[in-house]
């Protein structure tokens, strides 16, 4: 019989080397699976429209006072409002609370979110309910018979 101590020592050295190979291989395999998997789950960036200006498909005289309507601003929704004095204003239509699309309430002359009953005044300020921030305001220009809405800054 061989000396037990030497055998154990030699075995131990070999075993730890093999264990090291095995675990690095297993680790490398795990990384090579989980990395592509996690990258796959994160959605790729889609080109966002960087347009700062949009020309609406309606004429200024078609918009009635004390009314509002939603328009497309790139991939986002905006709201165009004509107040009782006939002044045109535009805001982001995405509620600052939990991102529902807001609407104009002629009965109270507020911009209103139906989801959680948030109210904004016609300067976009959050005046009632849960919204924590005002709506982003856009600049409205009327050129000839076109309405042009642009982002500030």
């Amino acid at each position: 019989m061989a000396n037990d101590e030497t055998t154990a020592a030699v075995d131990h050295g070999r075993r730890s080397l093999l264990n090291w190979f095995l675990s690095t291989t297993a680790g490398a395999f795990l990384v090579s699976v989980t990395y592509p998997l996690s990258r796959y789950l994160i959605p790729p960036d889609v080109e966002e429209s960087t347009a700062n200006t949009v020309t609406l498909a309606l004429k200024p005289q078609e918009v009635k006072p004390n009314s509002g309507q939603i328009f497309r601003f790139g991939s986002q929704a905006g709201i165009l409002v004509k107040d009782t004095n006939g002044e045109l204003k535009a805001f982001s239509a995405v509620c600052t609370h939990l991102a529902c699309i807001v609407q104009y309430r002629p009965d109270v002359s507020h911009i209103w979110c139906a989801c959680h009953n948030g109210h904004f005044d016609l300067n976009g300020r959050n005046v009632e309910g849960p919204p924590p921030k005002p709506l982003e305001q856009y600049v409205v220009n009327v050129r000839a018979d076109q309405i042009v809405v642009s982002k500030r800054g």
Partner: protein, 366 residues
């Protein structure tokens, strides 16, 4: 020996040798259900399971016609409801059974809570049950979007915005859930995959564990019963309790058929991302208390945004509920019900009922 008994045919003996049928028979004979004044509540676990099986079957049927894309989803469900024979029935049963299943599951949860069934050694059974509740709510949330109608679209916009308010990782989570920055067709296909593949796979594992643990430990005798003189009476599971289970399932099937026939599932208007949220928008009833809470919270509380505080509150309630076996140390040894669990459970029920009531009755336009 049982093998030679003349009452078994050749087929039985053939199977017995290869599969071991008598082991199952032995298992069924061994299982006993404790008999006491709270035995009634034991039926709701099996009831939830029965409704889940209905969900799987009707879900598979719906898969045959449903098309998961923004352009086709709404139309394919219109097709199911109007053209496919009994399509309206299959979809209505799927929709109603989902609601009844969540309801049965809440009864099961609260009865286990009030009867302290989570105490040692059943902590893992409680935790796996909590996992199943989470998975079921995820089933409900993802399934709600699939018709791609107005209500579903805004419910999903709000629902996926909620994790977005969590600091630091919020926006990433929202993007991961939506499959993009906005709720679009990409969200629909993602939710579809989660609803029909990922969640079923997870439920299979967790439900398997839950049922295994229930078999392993048997049903819990409430501490209030153990302390009283009701003794250790029990009833064989098979066939006595199982037949009673069947009666319950038959009643559930009757209720389900009546609801599906008299109140078929609605479809509403097709989702349009460039339309305002409809007036009177509501989530499913089991999210109503949370929805109403978010509606009533002011914009800022002590300088923190109200919605963040609300979401944190829901999280804390969930953690307390899940961690109940570890928070409630007294029920473990004592032969009486835990005041902590009873108080917490009662508070939760009263709060949910009041807020849900307000959610359905308060004027949407105040």
């Amino acid at each position: 020996m049982e093998h030679d008994s003349p009452k078994h045919g050749k087929l039985y003996l053939w199977l017995e040798e290869r599969v071991g049928l008598s082991d199952f028979a032995k298992l069924a004979r061994k299982k006993e259900v404790p008999l006491h004044r709270h035995t009634f509540w034991y039926y709701f676990g099996g009831m939830t399971l029965f409704l889940f099986v209905i969900q799987v079957l009707t879900g598979i049927l719906l898969l045959l016609y449903y098309r998961p894309s923004a352009g086709e989803a709404f139309e394919s469900i219109q097709f199911i409801m109007t053209e496919v024979q009994f399509g309206w029935l299959v979809r209505s049963i799927h929709s109603w059974s989902a609601n009844l299943m969540i309801f049965a599951m809440f009864i099961h949860l609260f009865s286990a809570l009030f009867l302290n069934a989570y105490r040692r050694p059943r902590e893992m059974t409680w935790l796996s049950g909590g996992g199943l509740l989470g998975l079921s709510l995820a089933f409900g949330f993802t399934g709600y979007l699939l018709p791609w109608n107005e209500l579903a679209f805004f419910a999903t916009r709000v629902g996926t915005e909620i994790p977005g308010v969590i600091p630091v990782i919020g926006p990433f989570l929202r993007r991961l859930l939506r499959g993009g920055n906005e709720v679009t067709g990409a969200t629909l296909t993602r939710f579809y995959g989660i609803h029909v593949a990922i969640l079923p796979a997870l439920v299979t594992v967790v439900l398997g564990l839950h049922l295994f643990l229930v078999q392993k430990h048997g049903m819990s005798r409430p501490p209030s019963v153990e302390g009283s003189g009701e003794g250790k009476r029990s009833m064989p599971f098979f066939p006595n309790f199982f037949l009673r289970d069947l009666v319950g399932w038959l009643c559930a099937l009757g209720i389900l058929a009546a609801l599906a026939a008299y109140f078929p599932a609605e479809l509403g208007k097709k989702a349009d991302p460039f339309q305002p949220a409809p007036i009177g928008i509501k989530p499913e009833w089991y999210f109503m208390a949370m929805f109403q809470t978010l509606k009533l919270l002011p914009a800022h509380i002590l300088g923190i945004e109200g919605e963040l505080l609300g979401v944190l509150g829901f999280g804390v309630i969930g953690v307390i509920l899940i961690a109940m076996p570890f928070l409630d140390r007294r029920a473990a040894g004592a032969n009486r019900s835990s005041r902590l669990a009873a108080g917490f459970g009662l508070l939760l029920i009263v709060y949910s009922v009041v807020l849900t009531y307000l959610g359905y009755t308060m004027s949407a336009m105040k």
